[in-house]
Symmetry: C2
C-alpha cells in the first residue's frame, strides 16, 4: 500500500515537475523580454547620465572601421599584408575614454615598439652569430632575461604609474621580434611593418579622439575638484538647517540624503590620481596650458578630503540635540550656525572661482567672518561660568560639535590656501580682469535677459544670469 502511494506520489511529482518546466519554458520569452527591457532601460540611463559615453562608443566604432580599410583597399593591403592586424589591434587596445589615457597608451606603445623592435633585431643578430644550434638557446636566454628584468621594473612605483603599459609592450615586441627572427628571414621588414602599422593605428586613435568631441581628463579633474568642494558646502548648509535650526519643534522631515553627497569625497583619491596622471599627458586645450599644474589638484583634493573626514565625524551628531547651558544656548547656537554657514559660503565661493579659474578673493570675506565667529565663540566659552550645568553629558555633544566645526574651519582655510596656490601657479585671472573680458559678453546676456523679462513679465523669479562663461 505504502509503495503504491509512493509510486502515485512520484508520478504526480514527475508530472508536476514537467508542467512546471513547461510553464517555465513558455514563460522564457516573456522573462527574456523583461530582462531585455530592463537592460535597455539601464543602457538609456547610462547614456543619459553622461552622453559622452555614447559618442565615445561611436568614435571607437569609426576608428576601427577606418583602420580596417587597410584590409579592403588593395594598394594598402599590398604594402602591409597580414601586419594590417596590428593596426586593428592597436586601435582596440589604445582607444580610451580620455584623450590623456589614449595619448599615454599610444605614445607608450609607439615608443616601446620602436625601442624593443630595435633591441630585438640586435638580439636576433647576436644570437645568429652563435650557429644553428646555439641560436635558439641564445634567443631563449635573451627573452628570459629581458622578460624577467622588465617585469621587475614594472614594480618601481614611478614606472608603474606612468609607463606600465609601455613596459608590457616592450616585453611583447622584444619577444615577438627576436623569436620570429628564428623563423622569418626578413626580420627587419617584420619589425618595420609592425612599427608602421602600430603608428597608423595609434595615430588614427589620437586623431579621432582629439578631433571628434574630445573628452579631456583635465577638464573632468577640474570639475571634480569644484564639485567636491560644493558637496562639503552642501553638508555644512544642511547641517546648519537640520541641527542648528532655531525652532526646536521635533524632528524635521528634511531629506538628509540630499546633503550626504560628501560621502563620495571620502574615497575619491584614486579617481583623482588617475585623472591627474592622464591630464599630465594631455596637450594644451581650452583653459588649460601645456604645463598646467595638475599635481596641485591632488593637493587640493587631499585638503578637501581632510575636511571631509571631519565632516564625517560631525555627521554622527546630526541625530543628537544641541544642549548648552541655558544662558548661552542661543548665542552658542547662533555662533555655530554662523561658523557653519560662513564655511559653507567660503567653500561655495572657492568652488565657483575654481570652476571659472578666477582668483578666489570672493571667498576671503567669508573665511574672515567664519574666523571672527570662531573667536567670538572661544571668548564666550572663556568668560561664561557654567554654574547651572548639572548634566554635562548632554553638553559634551554640543562641545564636540563646536570643536569639530572649529576643525572644519581650519580645514577650509587649508583648502583655500591650496586653491590660492593653484591660482598663482596657473595665473588665474582676478574677478576684475574677468569682468572686463566678459563685459561685452555680459552685455549681450543682459540684453537677452532683459528681453526675456519684458516678454514674460508674469514670471516672478528674476531671470538667471549665467555664470561668466569660461572662454579663456
Amino acid at each position: 500500500m505504502e509503495s503504491l502511494e509512493m509510486g502515485v506520489a512520484t508520478s504526480q511529482e514527475r508530472a508536476g515537475v514537467l508542467t512546471r518546466a513547461w510553464r517555465r519554458l513558455m514563460g522564457l520569452p516573456k522573462s527574456l523580454m523583461v530582462k531585455v527591457a530592463e537592460l535597455a532601460k539601464k543602457a538609456m540611463k547610462l547614456g543619459q547620465d553622461d552622453p559622452r559615453r555614447v559618442t565615445h562608443s561611436v568614435k571607437v566604432g569609426c576608428a576601427l572601421s577606418l583602420v580596417s580599410l587597410i584590409y579592403y583597399y588593395q594598394p594598402l593591403y599590398n604594402s602591409f599584408g597580414v601586419s594590417a592586424m596590428w593596426a586593428v589591434m592597436t586601435v582596440v587596445v589604445v582607444f580610451e575614454f580620455y584623450v590623456g589615457a589614449t595619448l599615454s597608451k599610444g605614445l607608450n606603445r609607439g615608443l616601446a615598439t620602436l625601442l624593443a623592435g630595435a633591441l630585438g633585431v640586435g638580439a636576433h643578430h647576436l644570437a645568429s652569430l652563435s650557429g644553428k644550434t646555439g641560436e635558439p638557446i641564445m634567443l631563449g636566454f635573451f627573452v628570459f632575461l629581458q622578460a624577467t628584468g622588465s617585469t621587475f621594473m614594472r614594480f618601481f612605483p614611478r614606472i608603474k604609474a606612468k609607463y606600465d603599459y609601455g613596459m608590457l609592450i616592450f616585453i611583447l615586441t622584444f619577444a615577438l621580434v627576436s623569436v620570429s627572427g628564428f623563423r622569418e628571414d626578413e626580420i627587419l621588414e617584420f619589425a618595420h611593418k609592425r612599427l608602421s602599422t602600430v603608428v597608423i593605428g595609434g595615430s588614427t586613435c589620437l586623431i579621432v579622439s582629439i578631433i571628434v568631441c574630445p573628452v579631456w581628463a583635465g577638464e573632468d579633474l577640474h570639475r571634480l575638484i569644484a564639485l567636491n568642494m560644493e558637496k562639503l558646502a552642501n553638508f555644512l548648509e544642511g547641517f546648519r538647517v537640520e541641527y542648528l535650526r532655531e525652532s526646536e519643534d521635533g524632528d524635521s522631515n528634511g531629506d538628509k540624503s540630499l546633503f550626504r553627497g560628501y560621502k563620495s569625497v571620502l574615497g575619491s583619491k584614486s579617481t583623482e590620481e588617475s585623472l591627474a596622471n592622464f591630464a599630465s599627458w594631455e596637450p594644451r586645450h581650452g583653459r588649460f596650458g601645456f604645463r598646467h599644474p595638475w599635481r596641485q589638484y591632488l593637493k587640493i583634493g587631499a585638503s578637501i578630503r581632510q575636511c571631509a573626514y571631519r565632516i564625517e565625524a560631525l555627521d554622527g551628531y546630526l541625530s543628537t540635540k544641541f544642549h548648552a547651558p541655558p544662558q548661552v544656548q542661543t548665542r552658542l547656537k547662533e555662533l555655530c550656525a554662523e561658523m557653519s554657514m560662513e564655511a559653507a559660503s567660503a567653500l561655495k565661493q572657492l568652488s565657483s572661482s575654481h570652476k571659472t579659474m578666477t582668483v578666489p578673493s570672493s571667498a576671503t570675506p567669508h573665511l574672515e567672518k567664519s574666523r571672527i565667529a570662531m573667536r567670538a565663540l572661544k571668548s564666550l566659552l572663556k568668560t561664561t561660568s557654567w554654574k547651572d550645568v548639572t548634566d554635562l553629558l548632554a553638553v559634551v555633544h554640543a562641545a564636540t560639535v563646536t570643536s569639530l566645526l572649529i576643525d572644519v574651519i581650519d580645514c577650509t582655510d587649508k583648502v583655500a590656501e591650496s586653491v590660492n596656490e593653484l591660482a598663482s601657479l596657473s595665473r588665474f585671472k582676478t574677478a576684475a580682469e574677468r569682468a572686463k573680458k566678459h563685459a561685452k559678453c555680459d552685455e549681450v546676456v543682459l540684453t537677452v535677459n532683459e528681453l526675456e523679462a519684458t516678454i514674460s513679465p508674469e514670471n516672478g523669479t528674476p531671470p538667471m544670469r549665467p555664470d561668466p562663461a569660461p572662454v579663456v
Copy 2:
C-alpha cells in the same frame, strides 16, 4: 676698447663653457655610475620588501621562454606557423601578479576569443553572401556595430568590474576574424589557430602561476584587513600613552609617526575592492574554500574605515592638553585611557583571530570592558556639577576627545560585528577546536622552547611562543 674687452670676455666665456662641457662629459660615467648604483639600491629594496616580486618576474620569464618553444620546435611550428605569436602575446598580457588576476584575464580572454571567433566566422559568412562589392561594406558595418555596442557595454559598472578585459578581446577578435576573412580563404583555420594558441598561452600562464610559488589575492586581502585593524589599535595605544599619560611632565619625545600607520587605512578602499575581485576568481587554496565570502571582507573594510575617520579627527587633538575640572580630571582621564586601551585590545584580538580564522570570542571581554568604562564615564559626567569651571574652552577639547572616543568604541563594535558575521559565514573554528587541533603541534613547540630556555639561560626574555600556525 670695449669691443675688444667684450671679445676677450666672450672667448673666455666660450672656453669656460667648453671646459665645463668637457668636465661634465668626463663626469658622465661617474654620475651614471651613481645613478646606476641608486637604481640598484632601489631595486634591492623593492625585492627585499616583497620577495614575491622577484619570483613573479622569474616566473614571467620562464612562462615566456616556455611558449617560445613553439617557434624553436619544428613539429609544433609546423602546426601553428605564424599564429605562434598569439601564444607569446597571451602570456605577456595575461600573466599577472595575483593568481586571481591571471585567472580572470585568462578566462576572459579564452571565452571572449571563442565567442567572438564564432561570431566573426558567422559575420564573414553573412557578408560573403552579398557579393564581391557588398562584402566589404557589410563587413565594415558589422565591425562598426559590434565595436560601438561592445564599447558601450563596457560602461555598465558590473561588466566593467569583472569582464572589462573580456569585452576588449571580444571586440578585437571579432574585428580580426571577420576582417581577415576578406583576405584569407581559410578563415575557420585562422579562428581555430588563434583560439588554440590563446588556450596554450593562457594555460601556460595559469599552470606556472598556480604551481610555482602562487601569490593569492585572497591571502593578501585577508592579511590586509587584519593589518588595518592592527594599525587602528596601534594608534589607540599610542594615543593613550602620548595624550592620556599619567605624568604631565612636558612633551614626550615618543615618535608619533610610529602610530600614524592608520593614515593608509583611510584610502585603502580601491585596493580592497580590486583584491576582492581577484580573490573571487581564485580556486580553493589554503584556508579559503571555493565560495569564501570575499564580499564580507569589503564590509569589514568599510567599518574599519569608519573607525579610521574618527581616529583621524582624534589625531588632531594629540597636541592639545587634557583639561577637565580638577575634581574629575584624574578619574575622567583614567576612564578615557581605559576606553582607549580596551578598544585597542579588542581590535588587536579581532585582528589576530581574523588572521588565524578563529571565532573572535577573545575580543568580547575587551569590548565589554570598554563599554563599562564608557557607561562609567557617562554617569560621571551626569553627576558631577562643574561649578569651578571658568575656562570652558579648555574643557571643550577634553569633551571632544571623550566624545570621539565614545564614537570609536561604537565603531569598534561594528567592526566586531562584521568580523563575527564573517566568522559565521565561513565557519571559523572556535579557540577550543583550534587548540585541540594544534595540541600536538604546540607540544612540539613547547619542547623546542624549553630546549632553547635550557640552552641559553642567560637570555632574560622568555622564549616567544609562535602564533598557532594556520595550517587548516
